[in-house]
Structures are given as C-alpha cells and as structure tokens.
Symmetry: C2
Subunit: 336 residues, 2 copies
Amino acid sequence: MTRPPRRARAVDVAARAGVSVATVSFVVNGKAEGRVSPATRLRVLDAIAALGYVTDASARALATGRRRQVALLAHDMTNPFTAQVAAGAAAGIAEATEGTGHLLLLLASDDAEPDTEPVGAATVDGVLINYPGTLPAGRPDLPVVHLDDPAAGGHQVSMDVVVGARELAAHLAGLGHRHVVFVDSNRPWSTFVERRTAFTDEFARRVPGAVVTGDRSGIDLAGAVGHATAALEGWQRSGATAVVTATDVQALGVLSALAAAGVPVPGRLSVAAFDDIPFAAVSAPPLTTVRLPARELGHRGAVLLSRVIDGTAVDPAPVVLPAQLVVRGSTGPATM
Amino acid sequence: MTRPPRRARAVDVAARAGVSVATVSFVVNGKAEGRVSPATRLRVLDAIAALGYVTDASARALATGRRRQVALLAHDMTNPFTAQVAAGAAAGIAEATEGTGHLLLLLASDDAEPDTEPVGAATVDGVLINYPGTLPAGRPDLPVVHLDDPAAGGHQVSMDVVVGARELAAHLAGLGHRHVVFVDSNRPWSTFVERRTAFTDEFARRVPGAVVTGDRSGIDLAGAVGHATAALEGWQRSGATAVVTATDVQALGVLSALAAAGVPVPGRLSVAAFDDIPFAAVSAPPLTTVRLPARELGHRGAVLLSRVIDGTAVDPAPVVLPAQLVVRGSTGPATM
DNA sequence: CTGTTAGCGCGTTCAT
DNA sequence: ATGAACGCGCTAACAG
C-alpha cells in the first residue's frame, strides 16, 4: 500500500500502458499522429492520468535543447512601470507558447547589474531586457529583445516617446508656458534622453525665447520627493511655471512636495510627466502625462521573443508602440 | 579559424587542462579541497576562463535533482504590495543561496489560477505562495512557504495584522469616530478576513454603540475608484465619519473619488487603510495606514524556503513580522 | 590525488 | 505501428 511517493517517470507510464517509452514520448508531445494507434494512445493517456505523470523539465531540456523559459532582466520591480512590463511579459510568453513558456525574473540588486548567471548557464531560451546595456558576452547567438531602449540594436520593441513628448510640449506651449523645469532621471538610459531632448526641442521650436532648465533626480519615490523638496525654492525663484519629469513616479513625488509646501497646482506650477502609471490618474490633482503602454511593451516583447526563438522572426524590425498625451488636472495656464 | 560557436562543455575544459571531467566537476563545484592539487586546479580554472565555460543548468539539475530555482506564485504584479514581495523574494533567494538561486515568476492570468505547470514538471526546488489556497496535488513533499496567509498550514511567514488593526481601531476611536465603513477586498483571502475582524472587534470593544458598515470592492485601482464613486453618497447618508479599506490601493481610489466629489478629507470623512505602499505617503492627504512589511515578507519567505529546501528548517514555526500604524494626514477628528 | 563509468529522464532515429 | 538504443552534459561513487 505504501507506494513510493516518487514522481512517476515515462518508464512507469510505459509499463502501466504496456508500451515502450518511445510511444509515451510521442503521445506526450503530440506526435502520435500516424505513429501510434488511437487505442494505445488512449491507454497511454489513461496511465498518465492514473500516475499523475508530468514530464521532467530538466530531462526534456537536456534532450531537446529547449528550456521553455525566458528571462526578464529588469531593474526595480517596485517601479509600477516595470511591474506592468513584467505582468505583460508573463502574459505574452504564456500566450505565445500556449502556456508552455515561463518567466524567470532577474532583478538588479540596488545599483548593481542584474544577475545574468542563468543566461550563461543556458537556463533560458531567450532574454527580455528592460534595462540599458547589453548582455555579458558568451552567448552571442542567444535570442534577445530589448524593451524601451531605442538605442539598442537588434530586436526591440519601444514606444513612440518622441511623438508623446512633442504633444506635451505643444500642450504646455499652448497654455502659455515659456519657462519649464525638466527633471530628468539620474540614470542615463536612452529612453530618458529621448524624452528630454524631444520635449526640449519641440518646446523651443514652438515658444520663442523658451527656457528649459535641466535637472535630475532618482526615479524612486523617496528620491524624487527628497529632490523636489530641496529644489522647490530654486524652481520658484527661477520663474518657471511648469515642471516636467521623466517619469510619473517623480511627478508624484513633486506633487507631494508641492502640496507640503503649499504651492498650488496647477495654479502656481503646472506638473506633467511620462508613463501614465495607474496612480497618475488618482493623484491630487490627477496628473497630465504621456501615456506609455508598459503592459503592451512587455506583452509584445514576449511575443516577439518567442518568434525569434522559434525562428519565425529573423530580421530585426523594431516595433514601435504609440504614445499619447493624456491631459488631466495638473496642467493649466501659465501664471507668473 | 571558424571555431564552432558552440558552448564549451566540461569535456572541452578537461581536454584543454589535460584532466578528466571529474576533476573539472570538482573544481567547478568547490569540492576540490583535498581532492585536486592546487596546481591542476589552477590549470582547470584557466581552461574554464579561456573557454568561457559555464555549467549547463539542465544537465546539472538532472544529475543532482536540484534545480536552483524557486517559484513565486502571485496574483497581480501590478499591485505595489505584490511587487514589493517579489522584489524582496528575489533578493532573499539570491542572498540565501549566495547568488546561485533564482526566481521563477508564476502569475495568475486575470481571475484564473496561476499556472503551476513548472511545479509539477519539477522545474523548481520549492514554492513561495503569495496566494490563497494550496498547490495542486501531485508533489506532496515539495517545500512550500506561504506568504501572508495566516490560515495556511505548514511553513509560513505572515504579518501581525491583528496588532496593526487594533492600533488603527484605537486611533479612530480616540478621534471620536463611532460609525465607520469598512471596505473589504472582494477576494476572500484570510489576510483580509483578519484585517476586517480584528479591526471591527477592537473598534466595537472601544466604542460603545459603534457601527461598522461592511462593504467590499476590487483591490485594483480602477475597481476601487469605481466602487467608491458609486458608494460615496450612501456612505455620507449613513452618517459614517470614516472609511477604512483593506488595502492602500483601495484607499487611494477612495481618496480620488472623494476629491472628485469635493468631500474634504479628513474634514468630512477620515480615510485609513492597510499596507503602507510607497504611494500612501504621497497622496493628498497622505494616508494613515497600517504598515505591513511587504518586502521583508518576501525576503524572509525566500530565506525560510531556502532553509526548508536544504533541510535546515524542519518543523513549521510560523514567522510573524511586526505591523504598525502610521498616522498621517488622512485621519482627523470625527465631524458630523 | 586523479580517471572511469554509471546513471539522471527524456527525445528520437533506426530497425522491425 | 512499435520498440531498442543512443545521446544530451553533468555529478558522484568507485577504482586506482
């Protein structure tokens, strides 16, 4: 009665069904068509169910060379944008592989590089990089898709940040703003460079004598609040009438600092940003921001990566997702 | 000149170093001590570096039975609490395994159960469940640690929600509130049940004739906003002077709905919740909430799981992390 | 101190 | 239509 609680193997299934392991393998992998008679196929299926047999992933991986896993290299899961990318990626890989593919989460610890050991150890069939910079060499032919890194080569999916930035510039210009502070991220990622330069260029083009003061802060909430609190007075003295940040998280920090200091938004200072994370819609006032489709980014990236892995996608054709300005209550007419 | 871009294997290293694969295996796994001479060890190391050799994870897993991977079963990575748990878990597993362990992310798609196929396929050495309910059977002896699920048996780490809930009840009672609306989560997870009953009991104990009106909403931002907007009028008519929600996300939604309706907080209605996600500190007004150490939860859970896996932790001794009320601006004296 | 070798569990070609 | 046998790359017991 005391059956060994050991996992059933293909041999066990084969024995119970009175066939060979090869037959079991065929049935399990859907290659029974024209090779295994429907009757025996059913017997095998029964045995599988009875034994609770599940193919061992490591053994299969060793035999096939496919791991059925993909890694997501990201920086900080605590950032809502990243979290959405991850959620989208998980859904995308599941969808593209019909539930057989899975996501290995590789996060950077603090400011270090994320741990890429699994990549070298061939634990994954491909990598999704939501992180600037390339992989450590060693696996030159490993399928890779870059996310939101317009400067990256190869396969990538990004968002039309430039269009969104221009819309934002036009919006602020139309409200009469002439001097804005642009709070960049203190990480020199290409997506942030693009946000800043596209905004700055368009704003300068539309507003004669425009002034865009550069500034930067961490993109974590605490860092953003601290920076904004300290920089606030300088912003006011400079005559700026609007603050644009590279990310929503920073803007939420700015909003908080302004509220604490009793500065009316958008009465005294307008605030706008990029991302449109869910919390941007419920801040006080709700945040005007450039909507960047984070979840879609992860989703499309995962689907693309799956295609690269199975060889369907060969030549790198960058996918660019649309971005769009969402006007809410944090921006208003410029007032000096 | 055209070297095959193939990954180097142990045999290749062995050949280059003039030793056998066993020797390579020993030095790779740090078992060279007293088995391999320092000199040959160095030769092997050189060969490894020269060839860029990295042990194949699948092969090693097949041979050792250890996958060096752990799964995190979670519901919605978009929820900041979950994201923090994930970040903590990733850090914890890396720490406990000195960088050799990794995190497989298994998310539930919408309201379905999360995909547990990798668990059955033995892709992981253990599972971290931040999700109510147990694993599908089939692997009864698989190490499991439940997170924030006080009703779960076995190994688990949770938080002292009861203490926090009582502090909150005392706080509101002290401010003169007698009628509060408790907006529960619409998911019947034990952690939420605990939050509600602990709060309700303590509040009733402290306030003679106390009224706690029950209510519930989704714990996603959109759902919370929608619900609050619709329920708002009823809350006001009922004579409630405070709203307590099961999670910060819901409270943020409530705050947003109240702001849109022009209801002063805490002037007309006080608002409080559980979690203390980062955004709770920057809302307008900043949210009074019971701080639940999410990151720590994930971290400790991962460390504990590692111990269970390597057999260090045997008897399930539930770990309970402290919770503590953080009073901010969203709660004030009751006013009718 | 070092080499040989038998598994680990599955996929797949080649006979039958 | 089915089974036998080899290989995937590595670990670990055993022999020397």
